[in-house]
């Protein structure tokens, strides 16, 4: 998975050093994950990494478990929303889990 954020630089330079030794396996690890791709589409409204600069709620500090249940709630309509129900309906359970885990990993890296 591609790493981004404040810690990105360190991790990537580490990768570059290890490339010659680890070869193909490491290169595979540089694929940009589906969770990262979907998360990046959240940033347009919610701000980069989900740190909202305005009136749209921040999503950078939500646990993976809560993000999964919230998005599933929007998708089923059990949870009221203005626009999130229309968005959440576009994703499978697996995609929701992956994007939630991606946000969870950002938090662990102290983004």
């Amino acid at each position: 998975m591609i790493l981004s954020g404040k810690s990105g630089k360190t991790v990537l330079s580490g990768l570059a050093g290890g490339l010659a030794l680890l070869g193909a396996a490491t290169v595979q690890a540089q694929e940009i994950s589906r969770g990262a791709v979907i998360a990046s589409t959240c940033y347009t409204c919610h701000g980069t990494y989900g740190v909202s600069p305005g009136s749209i709620p921040p999503i950078d500090d939500i646990s993976a478990e809560r993000m999964i249940s919230t998005l599933q709630g929007y998708r089923s309509g059990q949870r009221a929303s203005t626009v999130m129900g229309r968005h959440a309906s576009g994703y499978t359970d697996e995609e929701i889990r992956e994007v939630a885990q991606y946000f969870g990993n950002l938090q662990k890296r102290g983004k």
Partner: protein, 442 residues
């Protein structure tokens, strides 16, 4: 929606135009990059990406290229020192915002993200040598080029309306001096005057932009010139979020706004900018406005056409996965200029396309599969400062490689929503603006 995987053949096709496949040793059914190739690549100088244009597409792409891979050498070339956003420019006309509020600098791209921002203008692209020539006489080499030239107008498509004419009758469809000109004319208009707006044929930048402009001008009139009228002479039969807009207009601005679709006499044949007269019905009907806003038909930014990136449609065909041009290798075209399936031409989609393109370019340099794209569009419109509506969609690549809306997702704000939802969406519209400008320029 179910996502389709990328076959090895598709992957090679993606790489093929970039000429990278040969370097990757894609042999014997193995999709991975041999260590020797990867270490050779890492020993070389950092790959160079040049991004042309500093709007939502260009700025976001430059930023995310550096986020996805801080080792990349990213140069963004933009003529202007600052960017004035089209989103929010209607809010300026409505008196809700100032020009300063919608003007953004490139300081964070430089200082926070390490993008080399050059204020210059691209005059030509040499695809064989992989370099761009600048107005200053300099040239910049690239490994991959990202073109984000936005739109230009089809001057002269309607008799009487060329670039010089826009100094008298503004289009205000590129934000900046044109926005100020229209604002000045509206402010000088007497109470009881008529504002005529002529929206363009599809495809054009920001489909809900014209009705939002009508709404914001109506809000300004209601506040300052309540006897004034608005006439919409449209090149189309209908417009984005039409039902929602018209319901809100009836409620907020009753009797002020008249919409004339193309087939009922809305199609403009000629504009006389000196007398602010618009001719429709094959010139048989004349409409004289106190202020006229004529928005011309559009095409990809001029540099795209001059560089062989646009086809006969005037827009730029691309591989909708990586946004690499199907006409010129190693050049990606993003934002409004690109033909992007179902995606409307909006700042929001330009921001999303930019990120997917950045992810693709980084992946192609690394010799790994570009991730399958997932795009979102959310277009908020303000009908008044406390009345917001939206349209949203999620997009994926279909089997034909075309970006298509995910069925069962997206759609409009509900028709008979309680007023509280309109208030909330007005609040979110303004939050969206802060979010997207931070994500693109911050």
């Amino acid at each position: 929606m179910k996502m389709t995987g990328i076959s090895r053949r598709d992957f090679v096709k993606l790489l093929g135009a970039g000429g990278a496949a040969s370097a990757l040793g894609l042999v014997g059914g193995c999709e991975t990059v041999p260590a020797s190739a990867a270490s050779a690549a890492s020993a070389k100088a950092a790959p160079r990406v040049v991004v042309v244009g500093g709007g939502f597409g260009g700025a976001t792409c430059a930023k995310y290229l550096r986020i996805y891979d801080p080792s990349l050498n990213v140069t963004m070339i933009e003529q202007n020192a600052n960017f004035v956003t089209c989103p929010g420019s209607n809010w300026v006309l409505g008196g809700m915002r100032t020009m300063a509020d919608i003007t953004h600098s490139y300081a964070a791209l430089r200082s926070k993200h390490g993008v080399n921002v050059m204020h210059d203008r691209v005059v030509s692209i040499d695809a064989a040598r992989r370099s761009v020539a600048l107005a200053s006489g300099k040239s910049v080499e690239y490994d991959r080029l990202v073109m984000a030239p936005g739109i230009d107008f089809r001057w002269g498509a309607i008799e009487g309306y060329d670039e010089a004419a826009s100094e008298l009758v503004p289009h205000a469809w590129k934000a900046g001096p044109q926005t100020l000109l229209l604002q000045k004319q509206l402010q000088a208009m007497p109470d009881g005057g008529t504002f005529i707006i002529c929206p363009p044929p599809m495809p054009f930048r920001c489909p809900p932009g014209p009705p939002e402009r009508v709404s914001m001008v109506a809000h300004y009139f209601k506040t300052h010139k309540p006897r004034s009228k608005i006439l919409i002479l449209d090149a189309k039969e209908g417009f984005s979020k039409q039902g929602l807009f018209m319901d809100a207009w009836d409620e907020l601005y009753p009797g002020m706004i008249e919409f004339v679709p193309a087939s009922k006499g809305g199609k403009v044949q000629r504009v006389d900018v000196k007398t602010r007269t618009v001719y429709t019905d094959e010139g048989l009907t004349t409409h004289k406005g106190d202020v006229v806003n004529f928005i011309p038909a559009q095409r990809a930014g001029a540099i795209a056409g001059a560089s062989g990136l646009a086809n006969e449609s005037g827009w730029c065909p691309v591989n909708q996965h990586t946004f690499e041009s199907t006409l010129v290798p190693n050049v990606h075209v993003i934002g409004d200029a690109a033909v992007a399936g179902d995606l409307p031409k909006s700042g929001h989609t330009a921001n999303n396309i930019a990120k997917m393109t950045a992810a693709s370019i980084v992946s192609l340099f690394r010799g790994v599969k570009p991730p399958l794209p997932s795009h979102v569009n959310t277009c908020y419109s303000l009908v008044s400062p406390e009345y917001g509506i939206s349209v949203a969609a999620v997009y994926r690549l279909n089997e034909k490689g075309v970006l298509e809306g995910v069925k069962g997702a997206g759609g409009l704000s509900p028709k008979d929503a309680p007023r509280l939802q309109r208030v909330q969406e007005a609040n979110y519209a303004q939050g969206w603006y802060k979010g997207i400008t931070q994500d693109s320029f911050g």
